[in-house]
Amino acid sequence: MTSTARRLAEIRGGGAPRRHNARTTAALTGNPGCDRRAVLDSAGADKPGLAERVGFPARFGQSRFAITRGNAFEALVKADGGAELLRLVAERLGVDSTGPATWTDLGAEDRGDPPDATAQFGRAARSRAALAAAAPVGADDPAALFDHPLLGLDVAGQRVHLEPDLVAARLAGRFHVVEIKSFPVIDGQADPGKVAAAAIQSAVYVLALRELLAAEGHDAALVSSDVVLVCPRDFANRPVASLVDVRKQLLVLRRQLDRMARVDDLLARLPADFTADPSTDPERLRRSLTSVPARYAPDCLAACELAYFCRHETRAETAALGRPVREALGGVATVAEVLALAAGSDPGAPGQAEAAALLRAAARLRADALAGQPA
């Protein structure tokens, strides 16, 4: 174990690092400027446990109806050895899918949680071997589909195992990541938030798949940056495939992973007794978390388990009201400062002259209008 790994393990407390699922992997790229999150994610800390322990439990519950529907749709799409799936994907990519195709389920066993480390190791090796052996050599390779590959990614010097519900499709000389999602595409349109989330998740898989091939001496570009999203069409359960270009997401992801790779810099800035062990006394845990700078924004509410804690911490700051509000307030950091500048009771720091004048004018106009001055 490297000293970094040891330090991260200490921070995490006794437990094994958290496994990443689709949501948490996608969330790795959210709020990249936040040190608190970078440290906790790098350490694989139990963020839901932490949030609970400090009195601000996260709310990322999943309805079992949603899970059932997701599984049912996936099963439907993959039925018959993926024949229908292959047809859809090929059609969307505009390639010929006739001819023999193979279907390999790389995750037939070991779906346990927590995972059996040995089994997982075996599965990772199996995935690696199978995918590397199937690396496309030319456009006339027969179509091949690989279900449930176990992929890995280096996050902050740690090997993170990803269990994507994806199919890697080899078609027309390239691998394509195929993601099956159960949100509907109605008249060609889907919920933009869901599509964005799916795109960033897919980018994680593209990256992991590229690294796998590169490590085996293949060209990373064999994995396409166009991923195929398979969703139910309209209000029924018939699947429809769409292409999503994830090049932008790949860049964002790369940048954040690079940042996390420099976790040593972050660790060097932490207080020596920093801990994120959920079994620590809540008061100490709160102090510990607060000692790492965060960068709360309302978007955190949908992405990070610590959001309610961080929101509480920043409740007197303009950032908690959202970036547009903060910007409209001239970038002034705290609400108290805004009000003092607006009232003219605080002339403001030298660099704040413009913001101060704006806020004073705004306060005067507001007071005027509320007092019934004419429009």
């Binding site: 519950g61 309805s63 059932t68 309209d234 547009p324 609400v335 005027d368 019934g372």
Partner: protein, 511 residues
């Protein structure tokens, strides 16, 4: 976000209670709105689970779908909803009024009142839009016939969802948006989508700050979400067993009856708090006096209602799935014009909204210090009345000489900036030449020219007529832009595969 609104947010946060950002109400409120609080089934494509519907606080009707994955039951829900919505709409098809058109050469009629739908949040509008989409193409014959009211409901819901996109329309209100148009809370825009939290800021219970009330409202155990999405905990702990019990009851009449009652009780418990909140929110809005231009915009909603009712009466088809290129461009243009005019109208109606424009340099307020009401310009072919006034303002004047300004006090009058002179104490003297709004003679009738001592707001915003864009008719549009030869979607008699049997299989079930 304007600085003025942002400041109001900061003030709300500091004061612990929402702060006004409007002094008048900018939307029409019906005496008898139809409130709809929908819930959907998690994971499904807009599958209705339950709804509370009614046109008075004590007239809530609960509709539930005991097996939301069963499409028969979905359409039974749609028929039941139609049984409430359609008679409500019809109740407005009574008295009409004559409106002159084509410069008085012709006359048309419109209903003197129109229906208004109210949902808790923008998610409710999306629900109605998608529910309209999933029902308006249904067939009342063939293999999987639905009740004849179902496709009709679908068209009307689509009509309302489309109106909701039009800035300034009050035909379908999302209450969170309606409230935050008038008050600033101390929370972010994301959090403002949650009706219970917004009302927590607007009207916190005694002893609580807005922030505390909003935080409470976020706890689904204390306060169910305002839909259409349900609380996952509720799904897992209450709803799933209740649905299972109903399904298991099968043909056992007594068991099914009690399971149904159980489901009703659980769903009512999730919906009733939101129902109360919606009416409370409407009450808060009703306490504001309406802006002067609200009635004019509502007349537009009445026009639209009348027009669509006539379209339906005449046997017109359902709205297309997607607009063609020309229709899309026309629509975009119309929405842009509506947005621009709505923004101006709100500023004219409300000094607090105008203040946002003053801060942005698009308006200023000053005192009239000199007037020459009888000034006549005789340099042209014939003499014209062109009074001049001088206004002194302490506000920065960001308009150049030659600019045309308007005053909400006399919207039909133009004021051209003739001179701009800096004066003592950072004040500015503005000399303006007036035209319009003073009759046809060479003497201005009393009151048409501002008098010395009057406080005047002058702005670059004009409430005048915005010309409509000209677009080619569908026949003139090249096929590359959605014109012929492709059949116009509007009259598409044969629904595509999306509405064929695969979509409408009543036997289809997911579980």
């Amino acid at each position: 976000m304007s600085t003025l609104r942002a400041l109001a947010k900061a003030q709300a946060l500091a004061a612990g209670v929402a702060q006004p950002v409007a002094t008048v109400r900018h939307l029409h409120l019906s005496d008898r709105p139809l409130v709809l609080v929908p819930l959907t089934m998690a994971g499904e494509a807009n599958a209705p689970l339950a709804a509370l519907v009614g046109d008075a606080p004590d007239a809530a009707r609960l509709l539930i779908v005991p097996q939301p994955r069963n499409r028969d039951q979905r359409f039974a829900f749609a028929a039941e909803l139609a049984g409430i919505v359609l008679p409500y709409l019809d109740s407005f098809r009574g008295d009409t009024e004559a409106v002159a058109v084509d410069r008085g050469r012709d006359v048309r009629h419109r209903y003197v009142d129109a229906p208004q739908l109210v949902v808790p949040n923008p998610g409710g509008v999306t629900f109605l839009r998608l529910f309209g989409r999933s029902t308006r193409f249904r067939r009342t014959d063939g293999d999987y016939p639905v009740h004849p009211a179902v496709p009709l409901l679908g068209r009307w819901l689509t009509f309302f969802a489309e109106r909701a996109e039009q800035p300034g329309s009050s035909a379908l209100l999302a209450l969170t948006d309606a409230l935050t148009l008038h008050w600033a809370t101390g929370q972010s825009a994301v959090e403002d989508q949650h009706l219970p939290a917004v009302l927590g800021w607007l009207d916190p219970p005694p002893g609580l700050t807005g922030a505390q009330a909003a935080a409470r409202a976020e706890d689904p155990a204390r306060c169910p979400p305002a839909g259409p999405a349900t609380d996952p905990e509720f799904d897992n702990r209450v709803l799933a067993p209740a649905i299972a019990a109903y399904a298991d009851a099968a043909d056992d009449e007594a068991a099914r009856w009690s399971a149904y009652a159980e489901l009703e009780l659980a769903l009512r418990g999730q919906l009733a708090p939101t129902w109360e909140l919606v009416w409370r929110g409407l009450g808060l809005l009703a306490a504001l006096p309406p802006g002067a231009r609200v009635a004019g915009r509502w007349a537009g909603d009445r026009d639209a209602f009348t027009g669509y009712a006539e379209h339906v009466d005449a046997g017109g088809g359902p709205q297309p799935r997607r607009d063609g290129a020309v229709a899309a461009a026309v629509r975009l243009h119309r929405l842009e014009r509506a947005a621009a005019s709505y923004a101006v109208q709100r500023a004219y109606d409300d000094p607090l909204v105008m203040a946002e424009h003053r801060l942005a340099g698009e308006a200023f307020v000053g005192d009239v210090t000199l007037t020459d009401p009888a000034r006549v310009d005789d340099t042209g072919k014939r003499p014209v009345l062109r009074p001049r006034i001088q206004v002194v303002t302490t506000e920065p004047v960001a308009v150049p000489v030659g600019a045309t300004l308007y005053s909400p006090a006399r919207p039909g009058q133009k004021a051209r900036v003739v001179f701009l002179t800096p004066a003592a104490d950072g004040k500015t003297e503005v000399v303006l030449e007036l035209s319009g709004g003073m009759g046809r003679g060479l003497t201005a009738p009393p009151g048409t020219v501002p008098e010395v001592g009057e406080r005047l707001c002058l702005t670059t915003l004009s409430d005048g007529f915005l010309p409509a864009g000209s677009f080619p008719t569908p026949e003139e549009t090249p096929w590359t832009h959605g014109g012929p030869p492709a059949a116009p979607v509007l009259s598409d008699p044969a629904p595509g595969p999306a509405v064929g049997p695969a979509d409408g299989d009543p036997a289809e079930e997911w579980a």
